[in-house]
Structure formats: structure tokens, C-alpha cells
């Protein structure tokens, strides 16, 4: 017998969501009064403390998918998808370690602020375009999810839902700027975590588990029955290459996500940014572990009750409608909405930063701070309206899984940022060529463009894991080899890093005025890295089973 999600009283759901939106608007309004410059608008005045920032980072990273998509995929793929999800918790710690604190030291608004200083304008335009494309894909996915959530919650047509939910969302994000996005995200993380975990305790108790007092880790007593019902649930299923392929596509991609980096940049200091990461790991681990228990319980529910969850992405909602009172089920839906909103907030702030600060900084470099802030507001609102308009009839190529887009970002932007921060020889022309060539190659060899020209097959190809294992190492190797070559050819002299470019590197690492030519300037290690990358590239080309 199929189980469906339907609130017995729609007004309860409406009230929960309305109360949440009132709080979001209030936070946005209070935040708008603190916003007086571009530093306030794009980086919350570089003032966010570690706990608030840790919560905000976790909320921005955990999207609507944490409540809907992931649980559906755990229901479908079982444990391997849990492993895929676990590794996302290292994205912000790695980002902070590898370049976040360095860019915070230079007071960057987005990673592209650094790209502009390090590589100049043409390279910035290339990287900004890739980042905007990915942010639009990201925001569009969240907006569509939000529309569907409202459709599901209130029974209104999708188009009406997208207008109401979209405008209400873009409104409070635009009003609040980065202050609002940060404080709202912190509050949204609390709502998400409570909505994910507390009701699960009641569900587990109803299912007979003695671990209801701590759902994230205490459902071990349900395992024997689960294994009896689904003997393959805990099987690792795939070979080592499948697990290795998670690194290039899903670890290195999110490292370059501008909306995550911008959270690090809002910190009140470099040290505070690192403390925020500790809180982030604790908060996100709690939420993600809640997601795993919902995925586990969804499988348990279908296996032991004989009921079918036809719409797997509604698993958490169906479980709550089935076992919990209407008010609790409505609050869980509110948690899912909060998850979507926090990510849209981050995405729109990133689009605003990339357009209003980085691109506009190229067109009008002498614009004053207050004008930059006004353009930021305009870019933020326009980005939001664009996402709403596209969500009516989304272009097919843009609604490809955001997981696939992570591979595109790892191919096009991650090498530019990491090598730019850690290697003085990184060459401007080499960056443009490797980013464009490998980026378009990644798109071409995916199953979403020409299905007959594809690396890998099935899920690994659709998620960009197999394609990423080819193009990401190729992009790193190409960038390194071309940089070494171009820097030694007289005809490409104008693209070689200047002394000013090199001094940027020493300065963002904290050396102040102390410049040393040999620092971050070796050739041996980059050559070894490129050889390893080429090995991974050829490994990725071996047919996928």
C-alpha cells in the first residue's frame, strides 16, 4: 500500500512557514540597518563570530537536498550514498586550510577577488562566468525544490508556489545582504537540526527502537531486523575506483564553491575563521547523521511495514505524517524550507558578489563603496528574479544534478585558486586555456550533451564522477605544464606572473612586506603533481564497469 505525504490541516503548515518567514524578514530588516558599505553588504563587515559563522556555514552547505534528495538516494543506493555524503563535511575545513584564511587576510569578497589580483581581468572573466553558471544552476535547483515544497505543503499549483515562495525568499535575502544571510542562516541551521532529529526520536520509539533518545547514532538495535529484511543494505557495492572518484569530483569541487568561501571571508579574523570551522564540523555532522538515520529508517519502514514510498524524496515527510502529529510534520516541512532558503541565500549572495563586485570592478574600477553596495543590492535582486523566472520552465541543461556541477567547478576553478595561492609560476594564459578546454571537455563527455560521447556509464557518468576523474586531473596537469612552458617562452612574456602578482602570494600567506622569490616557487613538486594527475587521468579513461 503506498504511503503519501498530506497534512491533515493545511493551516497548521501555513502558520509554521508564515512564522518562520516573519522571523527571516525581521532578521533581514535589522541587518539592513547595519549595512552601510560594500564591506557590510558582501562580507558582513568582516565581523561574524565563530559560533554564528559555524552554524551559517553548515546551513549554507546543507541544502534542500539534505531533507529531500539525499534521503531518496539513500533509499535507492543505500549505504554507498551515505559514504558519498560523509566526505562533504571536509569541504569547508579544506577550503579554509588551503586558501580560505589567505583570502580572508586580503579581505576578499569572493574567490574571484583573488583571481583578479593574481591573474588579471581576462582570467577573472573566465572564472567568474563558470562560477556564475554553477551558482545559477545551484539556485535554480533550490528554487524549483522550494516551489515543489510549497506545492506539496499547501496544495497550490507549482507556478503560484514558485511566485509566492520565490518572491518572499528573494525579498528577505535582498533586504538583509550578507549580515542578514549570515544571521538567518545560523537560525535556519537550528531549525533544520531540530526538525530533522527531534521528530525522528518519536518515529524510532514508535518503531520499537530503544535508541530514540539520540537518533543520529543510537539506532543500532534496528540493524538485525534491517539486515533480515534487506540483506544487501550495508554492502559497499562498488570497487575502489568508485570511492576514489569521489575525491576529484566531490571533494575538490565544493572547495571552490564561492558561497562557501564567502562564509569563511565574513569571519571577524583569520583565527575566528578557523574556530568557525570547528563548530561547522560539529553542527554539520549532527545534521548529516540525522539524514543518514532518516534514510535508514525509510528503508526500514518500507521493508518492515510492506508500504511503498513512491516519492522517495518525500521520505522524511511521509514518516512524520505517518508517526507524528500534524504540527510536528508541518515543522519538519518548515525545516526543509529553511534548508532551501539558507542555500539560496548563499547562492544569491555569491551571484551578487561575482557580478556586483568582481565583474563591475573590472568595468568600473574606481566606483566608490556606497555605489558598489547599491549595485550589489541590484545584482542580488536580479539574480533572485532570474532564478524565479527560470524556475517556471527551467532550461533542461541547467537542471542537471548540482552534484554534476561540482565536477565542472573542480575542473574549471579549483586549479586556478589552489595553484594561484600556492605557486608563483601559475600563468595567466595557462589558466585560461586549461580552464576553458577542460571545462568544455567535461561538459562534452557527460551523458547530458551527446549521450554517445561519454566517459563512464549510469550513475557515475550522470553525477560527473567518471568525467571528473578525467578532466579534473587533466586540468591541473595542463595548467602546471603550460605554465612552466609559457613562462619560459619570450612570445608569452606578457602572460607570465609579474613581481606584483608574486608579492600578492607572499602577502596573503601572512609574510607582510617580507618578499622571497624562491618561496612557493618550485618546479619539482608541481611536475610530480602533474605526473600523478596524468596517472589518475589515464585511470579514469579505463572503461567503467
Amino acid at each position: 500500500m503506498p504511503a503519501e505525504y498530506a497534512l491533515s490541516n493545511v493551516w497548521v503548515g501555513l502558520s509554521v512557514v508564515a512564522v518562520l518567514f516573519v522571523i527571516f524578514y525581521y532578521v533581514g530588516y535589522v541587518s539592513s540597518r547595519k549595512t552601510t558599505s560594500d564591506e557590510d553588504f558582501y562580507a558582513a563587515g568582516f565581523s561574524i563570530g565563530p559560533v554564528t559563522n559555524g552554524l551559517g556555514m553548515a546551513a549554507t552547505w546543507a541544502s534542500l537536498a539534505t531533507f529531500l534528495g539525499v534521503i531518496a538516494l539513500i533509499l535507492k543506493l543505500q549505504v554507498p550514498f551515505v559514504y558519498l555524503w560523509i566526505q562533504w563535511a571536509i569541504s569547508i575545513p579544506l577550503l579554509t586550510l588551503l586558501y580560505g584564511t589567505s583570502l580572508r587576510r586580503m579581505k576578499a569578497f569572493t574567490p574571484a577577488t583573488f583571481i583578479k589580483q593574481r591573474y588579471g581581468k581576462p582570467a577573472t572573466i573566465v572564472i567568474v562566468c563558470w562560477m556564475i553558471l554553477i551558482m545559477v544552476m545551484y539556485a535554480l535547483g533550490q528554487m524549483i525544490g522550494l516551489g515543489r515544497a510549497f506545492e506539496l505543503l499547501f496544495g497550490v499549483p507549482y507556478n503560484t508556489a514558485i511566485v509566492v515562495a520565490g518572491l518572499a525568499t528573494v525579498g528577505f535575502i535582498t533586504v538583509g545582504g550578507m549580515y542578514g544571510a549570515s544571521y538567518n542562516a545560523a537560525f535556519q541551521m537550528v531549525v533544520m537540526t531540530v526538525a530533522m532529529i527531534v521528530p525522528m526520536g518519536a518515529i524510532m520509539k514508535a518503531m520499537g527502537s530503544s535508541g530514540w533518545w539520540f537518533p543520529p547514532l543510537a539506532y543500532g538495535d534496528m540493524v538485525p531486523e534491517m539486515v533480515k529484511a534487506i540483506p544487501t543494505f550495508f554492502d559497499m557495492k562498488y570497487d575502489f575506483r568508485w570511492y576514489f572518484a569521489l575525491i576529484p569530483a566531490f571533494t575538490l569541487g565544493p572547495v571552490a564553491l564561492p558561497h562557501l568561501a564567502m562564509k569563511v571571508f565574513t569571519s571577524s579574523s583569520v583565527k575566528s575563521a578557523r574556530w568557525a570551522v570547528v563548530w561547522f564540523a560539529l553542527f554539520l555532522g549532527l545534521l548529516f547523521s540525522g539524514t543518514y538515520v532518516v534514510g535508514f529508517t525509510g528503508n526500514f519502514f518500507t521493508a518492515t511495514t510492506g508500504r511503498i514510498i513512491e516519492k522517495a524524496d518525500q521520505t522524511i515527510l511521509i514518516l512524520n505524517v505517518f508517526y507524528n502529529p500534524t504540527l510536528v510534520a508541518a515543522f519538519v516541512m518548515g525545516g526543509a524550507v529553511a534548508a532551501g532558503l539558507s542555500t539560496i541565500g548563499g547562492n544569491l549572495m555569491a551571484i551578487a558578489g561575482l557580478v556586483g563586485s568582481d565583474l563591475l570592478g573590472i568595468i568600473a574600477p574606481d566606483m566608490d563603496s556606497s555605489k558598489k553596495m547599491k549595485w550589489g543590492y541590484a545584482a542580488l535582486a536580479m539574480g533572485g528574479l532570474l532564478a524565479i523566472l527560470m524556475a517556471f520552465k527551467p532550461p533542461k541543461f541547467l537542471v542537471t544534478s548540482i552534484l554534476w556541477a561540482f565536477g565542472l567547478l573542480a575542473t574549471t576553478a579549483t586549479p586556478a585558486i589552489l595553484l594561484g595561492v600556492w605557486w608563483k609560476e601559475a600563468n595567466k594564459l595557462a589558466l585560461i586555456i586549461s580552464s576553458l578546454f577542460c571545462g568544455f571537455l567535461y561538459i562534452l563527455i557527460s551523458p547530458h550533451v551527446i549521450p554517445s560521447v561519454v566517459i563512464g556509464k549510469g550513475l557515475v557518468a550522470a553525477l560527473g564522477m567518471s568525467g571528473g576523474m578525467v578532466t579534473i586531473p587533466l586540468s591541473f596537469a595542463m595548467f602546471i605544464i603550460l605554465s612552466i612552458a609559457f613562462n619560459r617562452m619570450a612570445m608569452f612574456k606578457s602572460f607570465a606572473p609579474t613581481l606584483v602578482d608574486k608579492k600578492v602570494i607572499d602577502r596573503i600567506h601572512g609574510w607582510g612586506t617580507d618578499y622571497e622569490e624562491s618561496r612557493y616557487n618550485g618546479v619539482t613538486v608541481p611536475v610530480i603533481i602533474s605526473i600523478v594527475c596524468l596517472g589518475i587521468f589515464f585511470w579514469g579513461l579505463v572503461p567503467w564497469t
Binding site: 566526505q87 571536509i90 547514532l217 539506532y219 543500532g220 538485525p224 571533494t251 578557523r274
Partner: protein, 97 residues
């Protein structure tokens, strides 16, 4: 002094990157060494619960150590930078080259 600081920065970055990767991708170890897929912890198969624990408390623990160590390194760096003579006009000019 500055050579020592430079080496320390590179070492810290490599060591913490590798440890973070191991924490986030510990499931791969169970695939690489299938003999480890034996036994249970808190009722769960170890290959399931260990990656979840490392992906939560493991990463948080590494981040805590990373924060303490890197913040201390920043203090050492700041101490070195503060010990440098103030920037001269020639230095400022060379930045604008």
C-alpha cells in the same frame, strides 16, 4: 627563522590536508582492505559506523587541532613580521612594478 616558518607552513598544510582526506574518505579503506569489514560497533557493521563517526567527530577533532596549531603558527608568523624593519619607500615602489 623565515625558512623554518616556511617549511612549517607547508608541512602543516600537507599533513592536515591528508588527515582531513582520510577522515572524509575512510570508507575507501574498508574497500581497499575488505578484511576490515568484520565486527560491529554499537550494533552497526564497522564499515558503516566508523566512516560516519570519523566524518563527524573525527573531522571536528582534526579541525580543533588544526585551529589550535595554525593559530599558534599565525602568532609565530606575526612575531616574525613585527620583527622586520618598517617598509621603506623603495619597498613600496617595488610593489608597484
Amino acid at each position: 627563522m623565515k625558512e623554518k616558518l616556511y617549511k612549517k607552513e607547508i608541512t602543516l598544510t600537507i599533513v592536515f590536508s591528508v588527515i582531513l582526506l582520510l577522515m572524509g574518505h575512510s570508507a575507501s579503506i574498508f574497500v581497499l582492505f575488505p578484511s576490515l569489514q568484520q565486527g560491529t560497533l554499537w550494533g552497526f557493521p564497522v564499515q558503516y559506523i566508523v566512516p560516519i563517526l570519523l566524518g563527524w567527530f573525527g573531522i571536528a577533532g582534526v579541525c580543533l587541532i588544526m585551529t589550535i596549531v595554525c593559530n599558534k603558527f599565525d602568532d609565530e608568523m606575526e612575531e616574525y613580521v613585527n620583527s622586520l624593519p618598517p617598509e621603506t619607500e623603495t619597498d613600496s615602489e617595488s610593489v608597484n612594478e
